[in-house]
Symmetry: C2
Subunit: 337 residues, 2 copies
DNA sequence: CATGTATGCTCAATCGATGAAGCAAAATTG
DNA sequence: CAATTTTGCTTCATCGATTGAGCATACATG
């Protein structure tokens, strides 16, 4: 069948609209970007142009517009994963808050891969992002340097850096509180006061270190010492956590501090693979709506995403002077497990 | 303190690099975008320019580059939420597969808000996206029209439309299988063959309708009729599902088909709010690593995200002729609950 | 009626990268 | 050695929107 070449009704430009309206491209531009009042275009012409733009299905070419303008209004974010509620909430909240402020959010997920993080940061620079939020970056200062040398501001979220302002959870305090809660609970339920296991995270990771510090501190508060063999830090991986637990004999009737929901996935997989699942009590740093109801779960430490993002956007609007590292308290939620 | 104005080491352009290298902007451009072999630039000059670009921290201005080029290589996706594993996996997989193919993925989350969906689609057009994937759109044809009138291809994912090619789960078959599995299980565990409750989703929603059809069909297969009062479809909202369940008296020892993880959130909240939680068996359409281990959960129907995305990218590369609607089988995973 | 000012537009340069066309010098060929 | 080809670059128009400057015309003022 012979096709008629109606194929490329190419996206209309302001030149096309100007032609149709019998006016100049600059009038069209002014009308469509809202500067027409200031540029003394008559209401009559403005309405006509708007109507024609509508009819023609005109959409501004942001590439051209941003090239000419000084500001792109793009705000970038890199984030490790979308596989848990914490990062999911950060991504959703970030988009919503950016839009509220008339900014264009662009998020890229970097799989905790340092090379991808760097690549993504460079990509954001190329998009002329005005500001980049580095969430949970493996090397925040590296990202901050990339931004600085492009004249772009950056803010660290979740994991702090030393070059750019940072907004993180108060990991130490929250871990200390959660640990105390678990210790008290095993004493109450099992009648023993014994050290907990610490499961998940990376030993080099700032947040893990802070939480481990709070964990150990809460033990000391109660006169306990944590044997180093009680700490399982095999990265943010369910499978590695599961494998590590499977290799070790863990006593019945003890307590565990699970350092992330991803580690919790490994933990529950291991737990349910056991022929005779033992009695435990665990608490988890980070929140999940289903994990809440898992048997033996006694509480989750939920990070306060809304407050963290509010702080981030404060910094977006007024860059703080000097190196700041804001710590946001977490919200403890007793579980029903 | 008097600040020295070293402030704007403005982002260097190819003109700046050309100046430094004592060459022309087009040579710089050719070297930096890889077309220099073809444009007969000497290796010597190419190396010098590359070094200078490196030193100066040059990053191409994609706005300018894309304006000039014919192709943007941007591929857009709109997605409702990031609050469950299904959409999370889609987002992560989409980004990875797009990058593998040398495309720039841009994802926007639209909160199941039809107005936001339209706004986001228009924004993608303005970014000169070459293709838009509409995931779980409330009105896929609306989005497809916006794309078509901008000369952009679109593909529906998760929810089908009539104008653009669609890739969805085989909701009917998977719902039928899941329903049969639950029915058999309650017969085995409770010794009764009784209709199940259907919980979650929207009655107007295509996927819900298909699943309901499979649900009813599986009942008929076993000689059962589903009372209409057994269906609770209060949207994709945990709170509304919870509230609806709280208002109704549901018998002990029965089975339920939960139509999404978000409905499951409402269900478990309701369940755990009861003074004396009754004996149930439930299965859930969609998968979650923790929900898997919830007591009384007997199985989850996991959507095959990798296969769905593979199909989507097939369509991205070779647009299918005519209206196609590909149905991808789901993967049943028996639960340990 | 000359002068001033407000109105309603248009012109043209510009943002940074790209690539077709062109040009000079070097290398090859007959 | 003249003619041709190859090499290695540069020039310049272009993508679409923006915006400072400018230019008629209409209107108001002294």
């Amino acid at each position: 069948m012979a096709e008629i070449d109606d194929s490329p009704p190419r996206r209309p430009t302001i030149y096309d609209l100007a032609q149709i309206a019998g006016t100049s491209p600059s009038a069209v531009s002014a009308v469509l970007n809202g500067s027409w009042k200031k540029r003394r275009i008559s209401t009559r012409l403005a309405e006509r142009i708007s109507r024609i733009a509508e009819e023609q299905g005109y959409a501004v070419n942001l590439q051209a517009s941003m090239l000419r303008r000084e500001r792109s209004r793009i705000i970038g974010m890199i984030i490790p994963k979308y596989d848990n509620r914490y990062f999911g909430a950060i991504a959703e909240g970030f988009e919503a808050m950016a839009r509220e402020r008339g900014l264009f959010p662009v998020i890229t997920c970097t799989q905790r891969d340092p090379a991808l993080e760097v690549e993504a940061a460079r990509e954001m620079m190329s998009y002329q992002a005005e500001c980049l939020i580095a969430t949970g970056a493996t090397d925040p200062d590296r990202i901050a340097n990339i931004c600085t040398s492009a004249g772009v501001r950056s803010i660290n979220l979740d994991l702090p850096g030393t070059t750019a302002p940072s907004v993180v959870s108060d990991n130490f305090q929250a871990a200390r509180d959660l640990t105390r809660f678990i210790l008290e609970r095993i004493k109450q339920d099992f009648g023993v006061l014994a050290p907990l296991y610490f499961i998940g995270g990376r030993a080099q990771d700032h947040n893990t270190r802070e939480r481990l510090r709070g964990f150990i501190c809460a033990h000391e508060d109660m006169g306990l010492t944590v044997p180093s063999a009680y700490c399982f830090m095999h990265g943010y991986s369910a499978s590695k956590t599961e494998a590590a637990l499977a290799e070790t004999g863990i006593d019945e009737r003890c307590g565990m501090f699970i350092n992330s929901t991803i580690a919790l996935e490994g933990f529950v997989r291991w737990f349910h693979s056991l022929a005779a699942p033992p009695e435990f009590r665990f608490g988890c740093f980070d929140w999940d709506p289903f994990a809440r109801f898992l048997p033996q779960n006694i509480g989750m430490m939920r990070q306060d995403v809304d407050t963290m993002l509010a702080k981030v956007f404060e910094f977006v609007e007024h860059a703080p002077s000097g190196t700041v590292n804001i710590k946001i308290p977490c919200i403890f939620e007793a579980a029903n497990g």
